[in-house]
Symmetry: D2
Subunit: 159 residues, 4 copies
Amino acid sequence: MPKALIVYYSRSGNTKAIAEDIAAAVTQEGLAVDLRSVEKVQPAELSNYQLIICGGPTYYGGAPYQIKQLLDETVKFHGQLDGKVGGAFCSSANIAGGNETTLFSILNAFLIHGMIIQGDPRGDHYGPVAINAPDDRCRSGCRRYGQRLARLTKQLFGD
Amino acid sequence: MPKALIVYYSRSGNTKAIAEDIAAAVTQEGLAVDLRSVEKVQPAELSNYQLIICGGPTYYGGAPYQIKQLLDETVKFHGQLDGKVGGAFCSSANIAGGNETTLFSILNAFLIHGMIIQGDPRGDHYGPVAINAPDDRCRSGCRRYGQRLARLTKQLFGD
Amino acid sequence: MPKALIVYYSRSGNTKAIAEDIAAAVTQEGLAVDLRSVEKVQPAELSNYQLIICGGPTYYGGAPYQIKQLLDETVKFHGQLDGKVGGAFCSSANIAGGNETTLFSILNAFLIHGMIIQGDPRGDHYGPVAINAPDDRCRSGCRRYGQRLARLTKQLFGD
Amino acid sequence: MPKALIVYYSRSGNTKAIAEDIAAAVTQEGLAVDLRSVEKVQPAELSNYQLIICGGPTYYGGAPYQIKQLLDETVKFHGQLDGKVGGAFCSSANIAGGNETTLFSILNAFLIHGMIIQGDPRGDHYGPVAINAPDDRCRSGCRRYGQRLARLTKQLFGD
């Protein structure tokens, strides 16, 4: 069964709540899920997972530097994430407050690793976004995102 | 006194309503404003204005092709918009439905023309976004955006 | 065996040459490939393919409006491309001339359709880019991109 | 006379070389220029400058986390950079290796601060990019970028 890592940076708890919703949906699809705050993740561990979903609050249109530091440090094993599945989520104080650019600050790094990403024809197309505390719209989007990426991972890596 | 062109593509009227709010704010700052639907704008006319603000609904993460066609056709006078002020706005059905990428599909074209753009430390940072019909949050953001870009234009081109 | 559509807009022939290189690599992987200029593609046809790769020259930081028109018109069958594989390529006159934003003007639309995209840990990470006429670096990247996306498509849709 | 800060992160020296070229051009326009490595810049200092240009190597499609940390920490004085002029530059190993997304990882943060940015109708439209060591093309683009942003700053803040 494939393994999934959900990494988050959260200060207010809003981003952590999204991460938990996504993790629950991925677990329900049968994957083994590790849910961890970014400071507890070693870069080299990422290669143990077939699905990596990463998120944080929107800080100046990008993921917080702690997330970027983790991404930067993955250069040591560049090439090993090729073909794995990736995803991103974020929280924000504003509707057009830099949320999409934050999602892409993570998704772009995953693409540069050769990873596979998927959008959604419904809801938040590039990845789930919470405006302040996650509401029902956001939480339902998180479950849907986790389910979709878990299914794609099973399709690619077997179950 | 500098002149401003507000160009929009609108089918439901949502984007047109945003355009009108922005136009009202720019007018209030004393600029001469032309507010026009995209099919009534000739590419060569853009060089008559010191401020150009352009918007449309979010179609697959970008401005509608009618807007893109206008932008593509400005290549005939490439260089003449250098140093002018530009802005963008959009409407959408979803919070993270491609709004920011739509704003940048217009702003990037303006940057490639050598134009000047400005963000906002409050609200929708890259440009005003309506989720469905523009609500008070959006309309107040539109007025603020129009005011800020008009003032920047006056600072650069005199009044 | 899955089917692939390679769509391009080309005036100088540079983008067409990239499209042909990608098409050759996808064919070599055993997929049935249709290579077509954008004006010869009906939006509804896209749902016949498991792999869709689309490209054009860099016009003001995005794909030409003819490509955007095709993408806009796919809204009629929104949802039917969910889970298919997508890719993008472009040509340009400048190294940082808007190439990456052009690739994303296509990739973002595919994500909004729920499609699956993949980056590359080597070379042009988001998709192949030609600076003027495609050189060896670009052509080798095109073959690699076609091969990778074809293999991903076979993994997802069988062969 | 307005003051300019050029901030860079550089390990190989390639990005530092770009920073020096930009700094020379800004100095030649008569601005007082501070050129500093990112670890020697305190976030609060940014508000002392009318022009801030920031750059680094392309790491996974964005600026290095050290640059992002500086940007994140500017939140303490959010609002004070409103109306100032910003710019970005980067170095990279690949033509479409994430350079444009790296420029925007900085430019987006500046827009969110309410800052003013400008593109260029010639060359690297969004900001100067070096592929490996800066060649003549890049160095000439750097001087041009520094000159353009310095002139815009003088236009807005007097000289």
